[in-house]
């Protein structure tokens, strides 16, 4: 008798879990190691959130949009729980109907009860279905919403955020963590609500049926609590340790496998394997301990539940002997006492899963809380087709507040002129570009374009003025045409082709089988470095910017290919203010002004000829590269 409804409930949950479990399992991305289905078996490590309540409250805001549907779901859960509570009572009644004296069954009553039971089952089935149906929509929409909120946040984040976080980390927040939030919360909320209702309902039913029996069944509760507390206290520490070792091991794996070339060339295989085994063994040991420890819970719980059953049966039997109670009442009571204790165990579990989900949510919110790029000032002007007159006025800047990369830099670039920036690595050349495009804001001083501080323009319109070609030519997966069009989305095909011709890219594109419709793979591996660079230049040409920035645009291309590209770049630079950064001094000799940057300042400036004549730093650098030529 005892197990009837306890198990029914269980089945329902298991049933509901299976498809979701499979889904969340299949969507497991990289980096979610060690959190397989194990988590569902109660062995998943719990990562503790920092501010449980606050995060939960914040998370609720995303659920608020779906308030109406959610309250409908809650209504369903309540009805469902009520039905689940009524069922043991009905079965008890039907047993009573059968156990009237001398095995004579009261079929009239049985028919009615069975009819009611059948209706209850059918309604329950329908409700569970609709609940699942609605929950699918609600939970997925919440996730989609969270995901796009997070993605939208990317726009407002400064480049420094992306510079300081690894891609893997950001990715896992956008996918794994959000996924974790959705599945756990949508499941846990259902369980939490139905659990609380079931406990209360069962308690009330038990008290109605027999207060004395209630007392008898309640004796196991302290045992349950005591057990869960002692075991979870131990396991939590072990799981934490396990998670730590796992993280360490995964870190080692990632490092050694991606650096395997170096390991091989230094003959370090054995050493690395030895180190790996050390951590692997530690993980194994702590894993065994954690698993054994947590494995005690269910069997002991089962024994305790049986003790409860026997207590109820013994007390119930005694009462029945004195005809104070019917057998049917005992039967229903036993069911209720099961329904009462089962959710108690569940609630402890729910708290654990909820904790890890909230920890995930916290990681998501961390990104949402990141400092944004400063908003445009009020009345920010839109800058359109500027002449390209650029002035740096006493600009000081550091990525960190205590270390300045640029110190009090001032210079002027006349419209249409070409400025070259040279200097050793780390001198601050790229920083100047970062400031110009307002990827970062200056710490002090001003940058003026056409006579106005760039902070007085809207950021969008400001960046539209620039065409930037970087060392790492980033191409997106898509066709060649799409990639060039990235410079100006509304460009016509003719314009795209014109830009490609100007960039000297047309020749090789035409040679490809599918021409402009050739698909570029994610890494762009089907194009050579030089070809990619030409596409990036075509993209910049198409954008038709007033100010051009070439940051080491050709340094990853060999010099012969570079000659080819240079031709295209010269065309691009014509009539625009251009900033060129280069290691190779040959690239920049024709610039109007060459500025030598060192230690965050401009140490020399002037034309090539002038700087050579002055025999300063530039002269040294220039002739350094020919030193062994004996020039």
């Amino acid at each position: 008798m005892t197990q009837i409804y306890e198990q029914k409930n269980d089945n329902k949950k298991k049933g509901a879990n299976i498809p979701e479990g499979v889904m969340s399992g299949i969507t497991v991305g990289p980096g979610r190691n060690g959190r397989g289905p194990g988590g569902r078996m109660g062995m998943g490590p719990v990562v503790k959130p920092k501010d449980f309540k606050g995060t939960l409250r914040r998370l609720w805001r995303y659920f608020e949009n779906e308030k109406k549907l959610l309250s409908l779901i809650f209504t369903f859960i309540i009805i469902d729980s009520a039905l689940a509570l009524a069922v043991p009572y009905l079965i008890g009644r039907s047993i009573d109907a059968m156990s009237i004296k001398n095995n004579l069954v009261d079929f009239g009553a049985l028919k009615i009860i069975i009819g009611v039971l059948l209706t209850a089952y059918i309604i329950d089935g329908i409700i569970i279905f609709f609940q699942g149906w609605l929950m699918a929509g609600v939970s997925q929409h919440i996730v989609a919403n969270l995901r796009s909120t997070l993605f939208s946040k990317f726009q407002k984040l400064s480049v420094s955020f992306f510079d300081t976080h690894t891609h893997g980390d950001i990715m896992s927040r956008l996918t794994n963590d959000i996924d974790n939030v959705s599945t756990t919360i949508s499941q846990s909320i259902t369980q939490l609500v139905s659990g609380v209702i079931t406990i209360l309902g069962a308690l009330i039913m038990m008290l109605i049926l027999s207060p004395i029996l209630t007392l008898a069944s309640v004796i196991t509760i302290p045992m349950v609590f005591g057990l869960t507390k002692t075991i979870s206290k131990k396991t939590r520490i072990l799981f934490k340790e396990q998670q730590m070792q796992l993280g360490k091991l995964n870190g080692q794996i990632e490092e050694t496998i991606s650096g395997i070339e170096v390991i091989k060339s230094f003959n370090r295989e054995e050493k690395v394997i030895e180190q790996f085994n050390e951590v692997n063994l530690k993980l194994c040991e702590v894993g065994i301990k954690a698993q054994i420890c947590s494995g005690f819970l269910m069997p002991i719980m089962n024994v305790i539940n049986n003790i409860g059953f026997i207590a109820v049966a013994a007390v119930g039997g005694t009462l029945a002997v004195r005809s104070l109670i019917t057998v049917g009442v005992i039967a229903s009571f036993i069911s209720y006492s099961r329904q009462f204790t089962r959710p108690l165990n569940d609630l402890a579990n729910i708290f654990n899963t909820l904790q890890s989900a909230v920890a995930g949510a916290e990681r998501v919110f961390e990104v949402l809380d990141e400092k944004e790029e400063k908003a445009d000032i009020k009345n920010a002007k839109i800058i359109d087709k500027p002449r390209g007159h650029v002035v740096f006025e006493n600009v000081t800047f550091g990525y960190r507040e205590d270390v300045n990369i640029l110190n009090n830099i001032s210079f002027e670039a006349k419209e249409g002129s070409t400025i070259a920036l040279v200097g050793p690595t780390g001198a601050g050349k790229t920083t100047i570009v970062n400031l110009l495009a307002r990827f970062y804001d200056v710490s002090s001083g001003h940058i003026l374009i056409d006579g106005k501080d760039i902070r007085e323009y809207t950021r969008d319109s400001l960046r539209k003025c620039f065409g930037i070609v970087l060392q790492d030519t980033y191409l997106f997966s898509g066709t060649i045409k799409e990639n060039i069009k990235y410079g100006r989305l509304d460009a016509s095909d003719e314009e795209v082709e014109k830009a490609a011709v100007m960039a000297n890219a047309d020749v090789f594109i035409k040679r490809l089988k599918k021409g402009y419709d050739t698909h570029i793979t994610e890494s762009g591996s089907n194009l050579s470095q030089g070809q990619r660079q030409l596409l990036a230049i075509a993209r910049a040409i198409l954008a038709n910017p007033s100010i051009l920035i070439l940051d080491e645009a050709t340094s990853s291309v060999d010099t012969r290919t570079e000659l080819h590209i240079q031709e295209a770049m010269l065309k691009l630079m014509k009539g625009r203010t251009s900033f060129i950064i280069a290691h190779r001094l040959s690239t920049i000799r024709d610039a109007d002004i060459i500025m030598v940057i060192d230690d965050g300042g401009i140490v020399e400036r002037g034309s090539h000829d002038l700087l050579i004549k002055n025999k300063g730093k530039y002269y040294n650098m220039y002739f350094n590269q020919f030193k062994n030529l004996g020039v």
Binding site: K12, Y121, S139, T175, I257, I288, A313, D558, T561, E562
Partner: protein
């Protein structure tokens, strides 16, 4: 999945012990409803308190035995699954480290990492599950069927109707579900793809103000994923209630048939209760079985991916009796070497190359990107085998030397600088573990790293993040050069490893190197002509072929490609 055999061999005894405990556990689980029904039927109904206590004691005992079985099963299962997982991981790790570069290229490192982490976890969880519930579910299902049939054959007819229906529902569930899961996985890859591209191209996106475009792209992928997930979950939402409903109908049928039976006196009330218990037991185990199946499919996919790693054989074999190489210290010979990466078609990367580096010589290798420079030097430490022809180090074909001994004599600094977590000194000491601090300093000085390392507050003990994230590209390159120098190899290969260092610093490094590497054969791969100009010999590669070989002056006279490179870098008037 041959590779599993050794683990089966190692653990089958313990596994069987666990399964036996599991069987005992299941048996105890099955006993309990029967005893309970007896307590209700006989004890409570007939008001025999003695019987209640007696049977209650028995039941507690059975539960205790069950618990004992469960605990010991858990102890065995934990040991087996964790050890199995750890051993599997260690074996794959060792296997990967025995791979040649060919093998690694074939898999790609990212995929190797997921195989080592995710896939192992997947398989380990399945094995663990096997010993926890997966075997128990069918046992319980069968046991319940038997017990129910024994209890009352008449009522068991209901099971005959219910079980097949549930089985059909489960089957249809899986049949419909799986295609969705693969589709969802694809959609998820799509979302991930957009994010990954955005992250790598964030500057470009910002520079071109294309956030709206990216957002539309993301929205498209996100919507598709959401739509698919919702549909899939909704389709699946029908199955769980319909299974429950089917079994519940069965319960109603039992109650009715039971009522009839009780009326006839052929059935006890307690039996009905027990029967319903068994029914729910069956339902539960059927659900578990369907879960086991999905788990199995996933674990199988993972096991296959792991199997691929184990199956991969390192084609690079060394001769039975590897030769020693005493003489000709530091000599490198290429003789009619052709090479193409395995699995690629088309022209070979290296065509018919023959040249010699004499001991102590510095040889420059120059050519445009894709001309085969790196591929060529990768043949020296035998990272790859030449397709035809022979590569000799110290006068012996590299195929005849134990790779370990060979690599002891060679130090290579590759284009891609890889540093490891740990301090700077640890990283440099990779080249020579027992090196003294003075040696480390000298190597760092020669590679131009000493100055900036000293400038760090913690100096040589500065900790590096993974991959040396807290260093600039040029700094990383200089540390990796120091790491190679400290080894004091016979052959030093510098593969375009100063590209991120500015010209002036590079010049200084070159000077220092000359002194430090006196007597070492040096192969310098470079794009900058100034890096190789003063080499004893310069090899000019173009399209995998040698188009010129000789000293700078000679090449300026007779090698067109070299002249081209020279002009492109230094301009015409330098002539």
């Amino acid at each position: 999945m041959q590779f599993l055999k050794i683990y089966v061999k190692r653990y089958w005894k313990l596994f069987c012990a666990a399964v036996m405990c599991l069987t005992l556990e299941a048996f105890c689980d099955l006993m309990q409803p029967t005893i309970m029904s007896k307590i209700v039927d006989v004890g409570v109904a007939e008001k025999q308190m003695g019987y209640v206590i007696k049977m209650g004691g028995l039941m507690l005992m059975v539960a205790a035995i069950g618990a004992a079985a469960a605990v010991s099963r858990n102890i065995i299962a934990s040991n087996v699954s964790q050890r199995f997982g750890a051993e599997l991981r260690a074996d794959i790790f060792t296997k990967i480290h025995s791979f040649s570069f060919d093998n690694i290229d074939k898999f790609e490192t990212a995929s190797l990492i997921t195989r080592l982490t995710n896939d192992v976890t997947q398989v380990q969880n399945f094995v663990n599950g096997l010993m926890r519930i997966f075997v128990k579910a069918p046992l319980l299902c069968l046991g319940s069927l038997v017990m129910a049939a024994r209890l009352n054959l008449h009522m068991a007819l209901v099971l005959l109707a219910v079980v097949p229906i549930v089985a059909i529902i489960l089957f249809v569930n899986m049949k419909i579900g799986f295609p969705y899961f693969t589709k969802i996985q694809k959609a998820l890859d799509g979302v991930n793809g957009v994010i990954r591209e955005y992250l790598s191209g964030v500057r470009v996106v910002k520079a071109f103000n294309r956030f709206d475009y990216e957002e539309t792209r993301f929205k498209r992928a996100n919507d598709e994923l959401t739509g698919l997930s919702v549909t899939a979950m909704r389709v699946m939402a029908i199955f769980s209630p319909s299974i429950t409903l089917t079994v519940n109908f069965g319960i109603v049928a039992i109650l009715w048939l039971g009522g009839l039976g009780v009326n006839k006196g052929s059935i006890h009330v307690g039996q009905i209760i027990a029967f319903i218990n068994y029914m729910t037991q069956i339902l539960f185990s059927l659900m578990m079985i369907s879960f086991v199946f999905t788990m199995f499919v996933r674990a199988k996919a993972s096991a296959e991916r792991i199997g691929e790693v184990f199956q991969e054989e390192n084609g690079m074999k060394t001769k039975e009796n590897p030769k020693e190489m005493f003489d000709l210290k530091g000599r490198v010979d290429f003789h009619n070497v052709c090479f193409s990466y395995s699995g690629t078609i088309g022209e070979p990367v290296i065509k018919n190359i023959t040249f010699t580096c004499k001991p102590g010589e510095t040889v420059g290798i120059i050519g445009s990107t894709g001309s085969g420079k790196s591929s060529l030097v990768n043949l020296i430490p035998r990272f790859y085998d030449a397709t035809t022809g022979s590569v000799k180090v110290n006068g012996v074909d590299v195929k005849d030397i134990d790779s370990k001994k060979l690599r002891e004599k060679i130090a290579m600094v590759s284009q891609k600088t890889v540093l490891f977590t740990g301090s700077i000194i640890d990283n440099i000491k990779w080249g020579k573990e027992e090196a003294s601090f003075q040696e480390v300093e000298r190597a760092a000085e020669a590679s131009g790293a000493h100055k900036f390392i000293e400038a760090f507050p913690e100096g040589y003990d500065t900790k590096l993040g993974q991959g040396g994230v807290n260093l600039s590209g040029g700094q990383k390159q200089r540390i990796s050069i120091a790491r190679a120098l400290i080894k004091k190899p016979e052959v030093l290969i510098l593969d375009d490893c100063t590209s991120a260092v500015d010209v002036a610093t590079e010049g200084k490094i070159r000077e220092a190197l000359k002194e430090y590497s006196c007597g070492i054969t040096c192969l310098v791969v470079a794009q900058r002509i100034t890096s190789v100009m003063d080499a004893d010999k310069i090899v000019v590669l173009d399209n995998g072929e040698i188009v010129g070989i000789g000293k700078h002056d000679e090449l300026m006279d007779n090698c067109e490609v070299y002249q081209d490179i020279f002009h492109s870098q230094l301009g015409k008037e330098m002539m």
